[in-house]
């Protein structure tokens, strides 16, 4: 298995630009005097606040309780006093109720933070502990992990994939974690496999991270049912559907979930957090963030308390080295451009990029010349040029016929387009319109 490189159809090869931070060990970021903790950092319903201004909170204390099954609680990432609970903009762009805590600098541990007896926990208790720890997918989607670990009974999961592809350029948070804490990742994977009763575990890593591959291989050397697999370095190798296809040859049916083909995929950082949550009882209150780009003076991999402002981290990395053109939350292919640095790090943020004008190249948009490169690179085999053209005309029904809803928004089409057309943007517009229309149709039917 070690000789063959696993891959998928389509994709692009952007310069990976990992050299800025790939050799920089994870450093602890300064803990700020104020943290801003949004009550929705995940896919799903926002949390109910459990605290009010003036309350004392301790490190690891739950301050927002999940509402409904697809939701995830949030916790205090410092100890101190709640200053306010107020709507604030998150890096995702929307305004969310946010708990602002003034740090007392003591890191007084909450009583609920207690090690669990991993070996004697029931599967139910494990799921509960993962839910209570507020663990969500750390790869970027922030989907609540306990939901992923509760597939419908009729779906048998035979294979768990840990995603260490980290195919987004610049980002090295997972890379460093695999080098520095491989055992935690493997222990986390074993917990996931136990909860899902899966027989095989894969840890999938792109071949541009040989150090991570050898660290992980060493960590699994005594595990008979866990394998480290090397993937071809190609974007979006770390996309769930592409990863599943590359490793198992299975295709998740259109509109379906990985569980439909007996697979669950989790990020390596998520696995490490699962282990931490059980081993120490500490909920998800910090994560590794890569601060990188040509526009930052000292790029770093930082272990950051959730709720730390982007501006604090940029300052810790020496500030700007040039007039930046874009600040990105996440990677350059799918990340979100920020208009302000006064936004907090939330659970889904794996990177903060300060890009120079040279890196972002603001280019003129030309008409489509129908070269078909977007079709060639689309990992889903869509026809981005057609969906985009119909979307621009407002013909969203035809967009739907062209399977716009299957778009994974990886951005390969926009990246490769010689005419520099914002293809994925117009496809996302079409998706939103289609979904909105569907919702209104359904509610009409209900009446």
């Amino acid at each position: 298995m070690g000789f063959k490189l696993f891959s998928f159809k389509g994709g692009v090869h952007p310069p990976d630009n990992k050299h800025f931070t790939e050799n920089k060990p994870i450093e602890k970021a300064n803990v700020p005097s104020l943290v801003y903790i949004p009550l929705q950092q995940h896919i799903g319903a926002p949390c109910e606040p459990l605290v009010k201004p003036g309350d004392h909170v301790k490190l690891g204390q739950m301050i927002g309780q999940q509402r409904g099954f697809v939701s995830s609680p949030v916790h205090a990432s410092v100890s101190g006093i709640v200053k306010s609970v107020t709507p604030m903009r998150t890096p995702q762009g929307s305004k969310v109720m946010t708990v602002v805590i003034e740090n007392d600098g003591l890191d007084t541990l909450d009583e609920s933070v207690k090690p669990k007896d991993i070996d004697n926990l029931s599967i139910q208790d494990m799921r509960r502990a993962i839910l209570d720890a507020g663990i969500v997918g750390l790869g970027g989607a922030a989907f609540p992990t306990h939901v992923k670990l509760s597939p419908p009974a009729e779906k048998e999961i035979d294979c768990v994939i840990l995603n260490g592809a980290e195919c987004e350029p610049y980002l090295t948070a997972d890379h460093r974690l695999m080098i520095e804490e491989p055992d935690k990742i493997v222990s986390g994977l074993k917990v996931i496999m136990k909860v899902l009763d899966a027989k095989i575990g894969y840890i999938a890593i792109e071949d541009n991270k040989p150090e991570a591959i050898s660290a992980m291989e060493k960590a699994v050397s005594n595990e008979s049912n866990i394998q480290v697999v090397t993937l071809k370095t190609k974007y979006p190798q770390g996309s769930e559907k592409q990863l599943i296809q590359a490793l198992t040859g299975r295709q998740v049916p259109s509109g379906g979930l990985p569980a439909d083909v007996g697979v669950e995929v989790n990020n390596v950082a998520t696995a490490a957090k699962i282990y931490e949550a059980l081993e120490t009882g500490m909920p998800l209150i910090e994560r590794v963030v890569t601060v990188s780009g040509q526009g930052i003076r000292e790029p770093k991999n930082l272990k950051v308390r959730i709720g730390t402002l982007f501006s604090d981290l940029i300052e810790q990395c020496g500030g700007f080295s040039c007039e930046p053109s874009k600040i990105i939350a996440g990677g350059p292919m799918t990340g979100i451009a920020q208009h302000s640095l006064e936004v907090p790090v939330i659970k889904s943020i794996a990177g903060i990029l300060v890009l120079s004008p040279e890196e972002t190249k603001d280019e003129e948009v030309w008409p489509c010349i129908r070269c078909g490169k977007c079709i060639e690179v689309c990992p889903i085999n869509l026809m981005p040029l057609s969906i985009s053209a119909y979307s621009l005309k407002g013909d969203f029904d035809t967009c739907r016929e062209y399977n716009a809803l299957d778009c994974i928004e990886c951005g390969c089409c926009s990246y490769i387009c010689p005419s520099k057309r914002p293809l994925v943007q117009s496809i996302v517009v079409a998706k939103n319109e289609i979904i909105a229309k569907e919702k209104s149709n359904n509610s009409n039917k209900d009446r």
Binding site: S311, P324, K326, H339, W366, P367, C368, R370, N381, D406
Partner: protein
């Protein structure tokens, strides 16, 4: 930190691909054929190419100025159209016809339909078809290769081949014409001459060797895919081998491949982005369709332009082909998509 930052949708980085780079690649790929043309036909062919390029670019710029549209000549697409138009003209063509051809290609076929990417027919080929109808004599005045000044003598009676088997008034039978009348090997110029381009014909079509060099570059640069040209050429080769002579399986497939405008058409014209299918399956249908029509015109038809007309016909079928060849998507559920 009172900077302002650009906020836009992802992705935030782009590749180095550009329209002008693609066009430049096509121009580079067309250079060997131009060298071959000058070598075999003399400097007049270079003059035709230059006049064609200048008038194409000027036509685009003037039209866009008059229509108060942004002038887009820096995308180099008009240069490509100019070169391809010249390549489809005989070297003796009067220069004023070249200018008219360029105006037809750029204004009538390309700009009126919305400019780059919007034309539904290949501009150079559509212009050639119109010129052929308007000035049939000038458009088929084939010149023999002038290599060494004596080539006409060395290649004897078969000194000129035309784009698709029509001989001019001034020369004898062409390879394709001979093939059509029964294929006596002795009367044909050696296949090697046909391959390197020591034959009569349009400026850019004669040297299969030079064109294949350029084609290899385009394939290497991934500007074009193999699908259209290879299926096109294979179809012509196969069908002319099977049906190209009195008995089945006795035709001269290789001759048909290397004479006329097939190599130029297959690699440089049938692959034209706006007028050929973008879907992989559609490209194969395009290639096979062009091959069948070309063969039918060559073997059963009596007029020039087998390659040109087959490509033009498939151009107009392109939207239809695309509609029925949408690729199967990842995880597509049958009967549900």
């Amino acid at each position: 930190m009172n900077n302002t930052y650009t906020v836009s949708s992802s992705p935030h980085i782009t590749s180095n691909e550009s329209v002008s780079r693609i066009m430049l690649d096509v121009i580079i790929a067309l250079i060997p054929a131009a060298i071959a043309a000058v070598y075999f036909f003399g400097w007049r062919s270079a003059l035709v190419i230059v006049v064609s390029v200048i008038s194409s670019v000027a036509a685009e710029a003037i039209y866009q100025k008059l229509m108060k549209k942004p002038v887009t000549i820096k995308d180099l697409s008009a240069v490509v159209t100019g070169i391809l138009l010249a390549y489809n003209l005989p070297p003796t063509i009067p220069l004023w016809i070249v200018v008219i051809g360029a105006v037809i290609a750029i204004v009538l076929v390309k700009q009126i339909f919305g400019g780059i990417g919007q034309n539904f027919m290949n501009p150079a080929l559509a212009a050639r078809a119109i010129l052929l109808a308007a000035w049939p004599v000038e458009m088929t005045d084939w010149q023999s290769p002038v290599i060494d000044g004596v080539s006409a003598a060395t290649s004897s009676a078969t000194s000129s081949a035309t784009i698709d088997g029509v001989s001019s008034a001034t020369s004898g039978a062409t390879p394709l014409a001979i093939l059509k009348s029964g294929g006596v090997w002795a009367e044909l110029p050696p296949l090697w001459d046909v391959f390197i381009g020591k034959i009569g014909g349009c400026i850019g079509e004669i040297s299969a060797l030079a064109l294949l060099l350029g084609a290899a570059y385009l394939l290497f640069r991934r500007v074009i895919s193999w699908r259209i040209p290879i299926t096109y050429i294979a179809t012509v080769g196969l069908l002319t081998w099977v049906f190209g002579n009195d008995g089945l399986f006795t035709g001269h497939g290789l001759y048909h491949i290397f004479s006329g405008g097939l190599i130029l058409g297959a690699f440089f014209m049938a692959t034209d982005y706006p007028t050929s299918p973008v879907t992989p399956k559609g490209q194969i249908i395009m290639g096979i369709g062009c091959g069948i029509i070309t063969t039918v015109i060559r073997l059963a038809g009596g007029y020039p332009g087998g390659v040109s007309y087959s490509i033009l016909i498939m151009n107009v079928a392109t939207p239809l082909i695309e509609r029925y060849t949408r690729p199967r998507i990842y995880g597509e559920v049958r009967g549900n998509a």
